[in-house]
């Protein structure tokens, strides 16, 4: 359900009551509106200092025990009225969002996943963050082709049907834009978790290991790099070392059990597990094997990390160990004192999450959290710590450690090593300031 920090106006309450009472019998509706308006105007009189919360005021008392709720006294819709199911209308606030000023316009832009509303480790397909450079192409899969050529024994061309004949693999892997959090190198700017960390998703990807296709084509000994290229208007291209290509890269046609969404590269994309999202070329149409990298725009002008001395790091592929608390967070304030589960997600492009610690005092002392659910390599991992909150202010942090022993760094350490102009790969420990009201603010500690 939605959590609006300030209450709605009386007018909005009345509109909502009218909407919610649609379909009721005449008498029920009259009674409902009478009670609802009474409570709404009562609320307006009390103001927000009153004991009645806005959410409680909007409830229809005739749907609460001991009454039989309206939905128990009528019929709902039948099968295939909605052949492709959608979330409940009460979840309509769970959507991707963007910060418009980040880019020139919306066709070459980015949107963020609502991490604050998600459970478990899988991102639903309709909520996976978007990143396009020339909009989403509408590709007829029967006209889509993948060409593998260059330094290979047998240059090959595949139809989608061909690719789906290869035995498939399914793997749960996170996918993250390396610019995730990159707006905050200099200081805090974003006022919501969705904007600080939402260029992140985790899906079960199904497809063919790239290694299988490359072996089918026969990579020549001098082949050291591959160029992957998309079929969209941007013809996005990235150079990938052959070691990675032969290791765990997947040529993917399905996500979370269904064919890829157009936004995610339908009908075919690469997934480079643990590497910056930009290398996982969407709408994949061509793989060329060569003996050196191509130094295209997305690996020179963009996706290189400028250091304080004016020199820049290139081929910064790995998304290093990172974590963030998703509850509480600015969108999920603490609404009542007493028991609280601190929850969040951790991930590492180098391997598996080994541990996560929580700090309540801005990093002075740390308490181990539990990892819960599936703990998989290069996948989101959920952590949890149950404690009590009684109105005390917190400087809440999470710190993840992966199985290489790498400990998620502080922002200070990253700034000392890299300066503040590198844009990409900010995987610093993040701080939420919990106020005594339960509100949560995005802050940085120096």
């Amino acid at each position: 359900m939605g959590k609006i920090i300030k209450g709605p106006t009386t007018r909005e309450l009345m509109q909502q009551l009218a909407t919610e009472s649609e379909g009721m019998g005449v008498n029920d509706r009259r009674e409902f509106l009478r009670k609802g308006i009474a409570s709404a105007s009562g609320l307006a009189a009390l103001g927000m200092a009153g004991s009645l919360s806005a959410n409680e005021a909007m409830l229809n008392p005739t749907n609460l025990p001991p009454n039989e709720p309206s939905w128990g006294r009528m019929l709902g819709h039948g099968v295939v009225e909605y052949p492709y199911g959608q979330p409940s209308k009460f979840e309509s606030h769970v959507v991707r969002r963007t910060v418009p000023w980040l880019t020139a316009e919306s066709i070459s832009s980015i949107s963020m996943t609502p991490l604050q509303d998600l459970k478990g480790i899988i991102t639903p397909n309709g909520l996976v963050f978007e990143r396009y450079h020339a909009g989403v192409p509408q590709i007829n899969p029967q006209e889509h082709r993948l060409i593998i050529h260059g330094m290979v024994e047998r240059p090959l061309i595949f139809t989608m049907e061909d690719l789906m004949r290869f035995p498939s693999v399914s793997q749960i892997k996170f996918l993250e834009c390396p610019a995730n959090g990159g707006m905050e190198w200099r200081g805090t700017q974003m006022e919501a978790l969705q904007f600080t960390h939402g260029m992140l998703s985790c899906c079960e990807w199904t497809g063919v290991p790239l290694r299988v296709l490359l072996e089918e084509a026969g990579v020549k000994p001098e082949g050291k790099w591959i160029l992957a290229e998309g079929a969209d208007g941007a013809h996005m291209s990235r150079s990938i070392p052959i070691e990675k290509a032969l290791d765990d890269v997947i040529v993917v046609y399905a996500q979370n059990g269904e064919m890829l969404r157009p936004e995610q590269g339908y009908p075919l994309r690469l997934v480079n597990p643990g590497w910056e999202g930009n290398t996982s070329i969407k709408w994949l149409r061509r793989l060329e094997v060569g003996d050196q990298p191509w130094y295209h725009r997305e690996e020179t002008s963009k996706y290189t990390d400028l250091m304080a001395d004016g020199r820049a790091r290139k081929f910064t592929f790995v998304q290093e160990c990172n974590s963030v608390i998703t509850s509480p967070c600015p969108e999920n304030p603490i609404t009542s004192s007493g028991l609280i589960e601190i929850e969040g997600i951790a991930w590492s492009g180098r391997g598996t999450i080994k541990r996560v610690d929580i700090s309540f005092d801005g990093g002075v002392s740390w308490t181990p959290a539990n990892l819960k659910g599936l703990v998989l390599e290069k996948a989101l991992t959920r952590f949890s710590l149950v404690t009590k909150w009684d109105g005390q202010p917190w400087l809440l942090q999470a710190r993840a450690v992966d199985d290489t022993g790498y400990v998620q760094p502080t922002l200070k350490q990253l700034r000392e090593a890299r300066g503040v102009e590198s844009i990409y790969h900010k995987n610093a420990i993040h701080t939420w300031q919990v106020l005594n009201t339960g509100e949560v603010k995005n802050v940085q500690i120096s």
Partner: protein, 346 residues
Amino acid sequence: MFKSVKPTLKTVALTSLVTGSVSFSAVLHAESAGIGRTVTAEEIAGWDIDVRPDGLGLPVGEGSVLDGEALYEAKCAACHGLFGEGEGRWPVLAGGKGTLAQERPTKTVGSYWPYASTLYDYIYRAMPFTAPRSLSAEETYAISAYVLYLNDLVDEEFVLSNENLASIEMPNKGGFFVDPRPDVNNPLCMENCADASTMKIQGSIGGVTPISHFVEGADGPAASHEAQHELESEMEKERLKELGVEVEEAVSASKPAELSAAAIAGKAVYEQACAACHGMGIAGAPKVGDKAAWTARNAQGMETLVSHAINGYQGNDGVMPAKGGRTDLSDEAVSNAVAFMAESSR
């Protein structure tokens, strides 16, 4: 899709999959799965557009700075600026020399890009933004030459070709090094890990992100690209006024009350498909709300305007690709969007 099941599955190596512990790829390595077919040289040639720093992949051809100037001004300047300075948030192409180690570095072709080949490759594969893959090799050489010229890297007589491109030395060629991460070592400390007495807490300035979905009435200054652009141009006007520059007041854009049913239906299409160019007047596109630009066009009649929008049109100032490149749109949707733009600009 994928409904047509082929009854003639070749089983070759696949049968051996179930027989033992041999990994699938090892089996394939020993014996091809026989899936897919050999691609022809002609098929590769049409898609093999990539270019490398050593010049591999460059087609035979050439283009001059002089030819590039006209092409650049027609196809590139609306976004990148006449001198490569960049309009709005579109990329800056020129200048920025010596700024990489400064407080606010300007990364341009001249100040940052290590190789000239990247310029040719990117323009040929993705530019101009609204009409990718529409440039010939000769045009790409010419525009690349002009961008190099804007960065003072070649003189105005220069002709760029497949012969000389790889030998152009870019100023920041030596400015890149391979990723050394992990580059920080945070020890796994559990107690007394930081000094609370010297801790400084820095919050957000507030109002820069759209958060009305959870804080009522607290939206950032810009909930849309259009609103953001308006805000920025207002700020720019204020700045210019302070400098004593005479500023033209903009004509307000949409007037929903006067719109026809078609125009109302076309608003959403406009916002999704047309606003990228027609919202800001990019690539010679008449800007919505610009009465002067639309009066002459409206005079041609809606039929002509719609036909140009659907089939594409080469104007004096720029080019309108068929359906603005969005060929997935129906003719009716395009027609409605034209109605919205024309009616909003009367």
